[in-house]
């Protein structure tokens, strides 16, 4: 039983990281109707910037303080992500107003490759580590319930708290503020939004910046666990089944979807895997997403689309 709970919790933690990446997808989709293929590349870009700057800044300015270096690097990386958001709006989205979703999707695919390339040109392409001072030591809980107790990572626990806070804040922002309402309006109908004077360009910069911020948080957590390297941008591929499961337009859906997939793939690997010779973890998420597409295409929490015929 103790082992089962350990596997379960391990899955939750992986799932939470999927959820953070998926959250970026959902934000941009909700607010602009664009399926942003570049979200994974934004995670990589933000993490690379943060990892490199946190070691470069102390060298440039000659100080030796981990906290200061990290704070400055995070701030600088955030500024970079806002700059990316601004450039994306200026150079791409602005020219594609009122175009088909497919056109915009292709554009974000281009942005993804560009970001991957530019990120590695600027910051190098080796493996870098991020150390934001999260405690690495494991903790044992429930020791009086199971023999040996259950092992969890303190690092994972802090990461989960950060993610939860982020989700609550974003949900409130979308539902309760005038800007959140304007974001939802733009997602539904560009032209109508313009006609009532909602500034599309500013809205897009805001939402891509917020998505950039989420990418930065995901990048830092992931990077401090496993190091920053190119494969980080492939994490986005795992986030696709998550958004299908949770629903493309739902912030809580991204979280639940991420957790379900994280837990599902860990448990299936451990308990069903041996019968297939293992390797379930790699494709489990996609099979689950496929099943969902057949049964409930709008996802767990997505808005059901009703077409008048």
């Amino acid at each position: 039983m103790g082992f089962f709970i350990e596997t379960f919790i391990g899955g939750l933690m992986t799932g939470m990281l999927y959820a953070l990446v998926a959250l970026g997808f959902v934000l941009i989709f909700k607010a602009s109707g664009v399926f942003n293929f570049a979200q994974g590349s934004m995670v990589l870009f933000a993490a690379l910037a943060m990892a490199r700057l946190s070691s470069l800044l102390p060298q440039w300015f000659g100080f030796d303080n981990l906290l200061l270096a990290n704070t400055l690097a995070i701030a600088a990386a955030m500024v970079l992500m806002v700059a990316v958001a601004w450039l994306v709006e200026r150079l791409v989205l602005r020219h594609l107003v009122n175009q088909e979703g497919v056109t915009l999707l292709m554009a974000t695919l281009g942005i993804a490759y560009l970001l991957d390339g530019v990120g590695q040109t600027l910051f190098g392409n080796s493996i870098y580590k991020i150390d934001v001072g999260l405690p690495k030591d494991p903790a044992f809980i429930l020791q009086n319930v199971f023999p040996g107790g259950v092992l969890i990572n303190k690092e994972d626990l802090y990461a989960a708290l950060v993610a939860a806070a982020l989700v609550i804040a974003l949900s409130l922002f979308f539902q309760k503020t005038g800007t959140g309402r304007a974001l939802r309006a733009v997602a539904d109908d560009h032209q109508a939004a313009q006609s009532i004077g909602i500034p599309l360009s500013r809205i897009w910069v805001i939402v891509w910046s917020v998505a950039g911020f989420v990418a930065l948080v995901a990048g830092i957590i992931w990077g401090s666990k496993l190091g920053v390297q190119f494969s980080l941008s492939l994490v986005a591929l795992k986030a696709l089944p998550v958004v299908i499961l949770g629903g493309l337009t739902s912030v809580p859906g991204a979280i639940v979807g991420g957790l379900v997939i994280g837990v599902g793939e860990k448990l299936s690997e451990v308990y069903i895997g041996p019968y297939f010779g293992g390797g379930i973890e790699i494709w489990f998420a996609y099979v689950l997403a496929l099943a969902f597409l057949l049964v409930r295409p709008q996802g767990l929490f997505g808005e059901k689309i009703i077409d008048r015929v």
């Binding site: 005038g178 800007t179 304007a182 939802r184 004077g197 009703i306």
Partner: protein, 260 residues
């Protein structure tokens, strides 16, 4: 009909021509709209009515001609700038925010009037909270006026068509526009719904003194409520005047009855 105190020319359209490739949508159209007036643009399908409205609204940029609003002339405008100048519109094919409630849809119309910035809104702090309440009250008055109280929290996608048209009007009204452009507000409605909508349009015009430019192809309704009417056919202006003048115009009669 002049009892509402129709004022000076507020919107002046001069020699507008618009073509899409080889298709001439509008050719040399001129007309004016006076303050507090209810001005209609009519014509058979494909006459260029919606194109005309889209030019005024800044969706299309005409190749020739100019449009002036309160004496300020503009030829290149985008929708947002037009909205800031105080011109609101509704859409022929509903363009509501389907996933959002009736209240939220109408609230978006207050967007330009909101002064608090993103960070104040984010923490729902002081001025932002007070402002939200004020706008909410304004929106509730519109909801009452349009008699859609019962549906305030319903996602608009689930409302029947006639009510969605009212929400569209409500969203435009929330902008407190000086000029309201209505693109076929009665298209696809039954007689009763048409009467309701006519009443709302007349009330807006009466009570708030809003200048209204109305596009319709149903001649009957337009004749009853408009002060002056422009008639378009194949992108040309074939008539302009009071309902009686337009009714007597032989070109208009042949365009509508199809006898050339």
């Amino acid at each position: 009909m002049n009892t509402r105190g129709i004022g000076d020319v507020i919107l002046d359209v001069t020699n507008i021509s618009l073509a899409f490739g080889g298709v001439k949508a509008l050719t040399d159209i001129s007309f004016d709209v006076r303050e507090h007036e209810l001005r209609a643009i009519i014509g058979p399908n494909g006459a260029g009515k919606s194109s005309m409205l889209n030019c005024i609204n800044g969706v299309y940029t005409p190749q020739q001609g100019a449009i002036s609003f309160r004496g300020r002339s503009f030829s290149h405008m985008n929708s947002r700038q037009v909205a800031e100048m105080g011109i609101a519109r509704t859409f022929q094919n509903l363009a509501l925010f389907k996933g959002m409630s009736v209240l939220d849809n109408i609230m978006t119309g207050r967007n330009l009037k909101m002064k608090s910035n993103l960070f104040q809104q984010a923490v729902h702090w002081g001025a932002a909270a007070r402002e939200e309440t004020e706008h909410r009250e304004f929106v509730e008055r519109i909801v009452d006026f349009l008699e859609i109280q019962a549906h305030r929290k319903t996602p608009v996608g689930r409302l029947p068509y006639g009510l969605q048209k009212r929400v569209d009007l409500g969203r435009a009204l929330a902008m407190q526009p000086q000029v309201l452009l209505l693109d076929e507000p009665m298209a696809g409605m039954n007689v009763e719904e048409k009467q309701d909508m006519s009443r709302f349009i007349l009330d807006v015009n009466d009570e708030y003194g809003t200048t209204i430019v109305l596009i319709e192809h149903d001649m009957g309704v337009v004749m009853d409520i408009s002060d002056r009417i422009v008639v378009l056919d194949y992108g040309l202006k074939i008539g302009d005047g009071t309902p009686d003048e337009v009714r007597a115009n032989p070109d208009v009669i042949s365009a509508y009855l199809g006898t050339h």
